[in-house]
């Protein structure tokens, strides 16, 4: 808890960051208290199959982390609580913005990479993944370098922590 409180405070002198950190600390404590043995068993058995329990746990994790992000991003505690109150009690209209060409292009680039990663994790985990051929290594290094320069966060204009 101390670690996460300090991690929250590091982001800024605002109660919202402290609460964000505290929530993550709390989630970690609850997880270790209730599920540590189960998780250790799964790791030992190398279980990575998508069971119903696992899907449920993924959904819970996603939602509680998203909840914590509300505190991180809102300017004041009052705003964060009002935001959560509205989620629970104010039923506004569901609005899905239409996909524009930029979003479609981004998905076209990101989805294949995601699928590639999932295929690798499913079928190639544990196998020797090291690239051996020098020319292949060079291609890999060049591609990574180019991606870093053309798509990386290179200036403070994009760096989300610039305000901290």
């Amino acid at each position: 808890m101390a670690t996460f409180l300090v991690s929250g405070l590091w982001h800024g002198a605002n109660w919202t960051f402290v609460i964000w950190g505290a929530l993550h600390g709390l989630f970690q404590i609850v997880e270790k208290a209730l599920f540590e043995d189960t998780i250790k068993k799964e790791i030992k058995q190398g279980k990575n199959k998508l069971t119903a329990i696992r899907v449920f746990r993924i959904l819970i994790t996603f939602n509680i982390v998203s909840l914590a992000w509300i505190f991180f991003r809102m300017p004041t505690l009052k705003d964060a609580l009002a935001f959560i109150f509205n989620i629970i009690f104010e039923f506004g209209s569901f609005h899905l913005a239409p996909l524009d060409i930029i979003s479609i292009t981004s998905l076209g680039v990101a989805l294949p990479l995601l699928i590639l990663k999932d295929v690798h994790d499913e079928y190639f985990v544990g196998k020797n993944n090291e690239i051996e051929a020098p020319w292949l290594k060079w291609i890999f290094y060049i591609i990574v370098f180019c991606i870093m320069i053309s798509m990386g966060v290179l200036d403070s204009g994009q760096f989300i922590y610039v305000n901290f």
Binding site: E90, T105, V109, I142, S150, D155, G157, Q158
Partner: protein, 300 residues
């Protein structure tokens, strides 16, 4: 050691070659953008000859309907507003436009991006594709002196723009209507009255505000500053310092920030800062008689 240095040189050479090819490909695709924001900005920089030009941030982009101004004032109009951007980017595009032609009227919708302290690096990213223009080089190196060297690398020049350029090159679909982007939603929640603390002025942004005004005066272009409505705004005290500065430069200022005709009507807003299309149409129509005063006589 010799082998290592040789490998480094080979790597650098390959990167330089790829950068050259990448740069040419990006330049081509950028200059042939068909849709989206890229095409809008390309039009602004290279083709626009509209008699009324509208500049500003998202509040300009979503609040001013150029078709209404065209119908009412009998002059062509284009909305050059850009979400998340302000005076620094606008000044760059103004320079490129005024090199080619002289509009009859420029309306600038003021926002916090035009004068408040904040990181200025983000305002030059959309100017980088136009780095070949001397005026743009000056702006970029003023904000970020090291960019003089970094911009030699095309991959850096087009950093974070690759997907946008690709998308704009592939598809001509665009939600823009003469640069204007109408917002469809309506606020279905209420908010407290906004609390706006007195802002700290950013000297760089203020410099570009002055340059914007001076450039319009030098080219004899009529310029009007405007503050469009904000939901539940009680007054425009947040803008007091910058408004005084602009008025001292003898530039007209239309202040509708807390105009009760709009500010208390939730159905005219998509969120507390942005009007929806219904609000934009009503507000634009409201502005017409005021803007008519500033159109140069020889165009009436």
């Amino acid at each position: 050691m010799k082998k290592f240095i040789l490998r480094i040189l080979m790597f650098a050479g390959l990167i330089a070659a790829i950068d050259f090819i990448f740069g040419n490909a990006m330049n081509y695709m950028h200059d042939h953008s068909k849709g989206g924001g890229m095409a809008k900005r390309l039009y602004m920089a290279r083709e626009a000859e509209d008699e009324i030009m509208l500049f500003g941030s998202s509040r300009m982009n979503h609040h001013y309907n150029p078709m209404i101004l065209e119908d009412s004032l009998g002059l062509t109009c284009f909305n050059a507003g850009q979400d998340g951007n302000g005076i620094i980017m606008s000044y760059g595009f103004l320079e490129m436009m005024l090199k080619r032609y002289k509009p009859s009227l420029i309306v600038y919708d003021l926002s916090e991006f035009d004068f408040t302290v904040g990181d200025n690096m983000k305002y030059i990213s959309l100017l980088k594709p136009y780095y070949s223009e001397p005026s743009i080089q000056e702006i970029i190196t003023d904000i970020s002196p090291m960019d003089k060297y970094k911009m030699m690398c095309s991959m850096y020049k087009y950093n974070s723009l690759v997907v946008r350029i690709l998308g704009s090159y592939i598809s001509s679909s665009s939600e823009y209507q003469k640069g204007y982007l109408p917002l469809g939603g309506t606020m279905d929640y209420d908010v407290d009255d906004p609390v706006e603390n007195a802002p700290m002025m950013d000297s760089v942004k203020v410099k570009y505000l002055r340059k914007f005004v001076e450039l319009c005066k030098a080219k004899d272009v009529e310029l009007v500053f405007s503050l469009s409505p904000r939901y539940k705004a009680k007054d425009s005290s947040y803008y007091k310092s910058v408004k005084e500065m602009i008025l001292k430069m003898n530039v007209p200022f239309l202040d509708n920030y807390s105009n009760p005709v709009f500010c208390n009507k939730r159905d005219l807003f998509q969120d507390q800062i942005h009007m929806n299309s219904k609000g934009a149409d009503e507000y634009t129509r409201y502005l017409v008689p005021y803007l008519r005063e500033y159109i140069k006589c020889d165009k009436e």
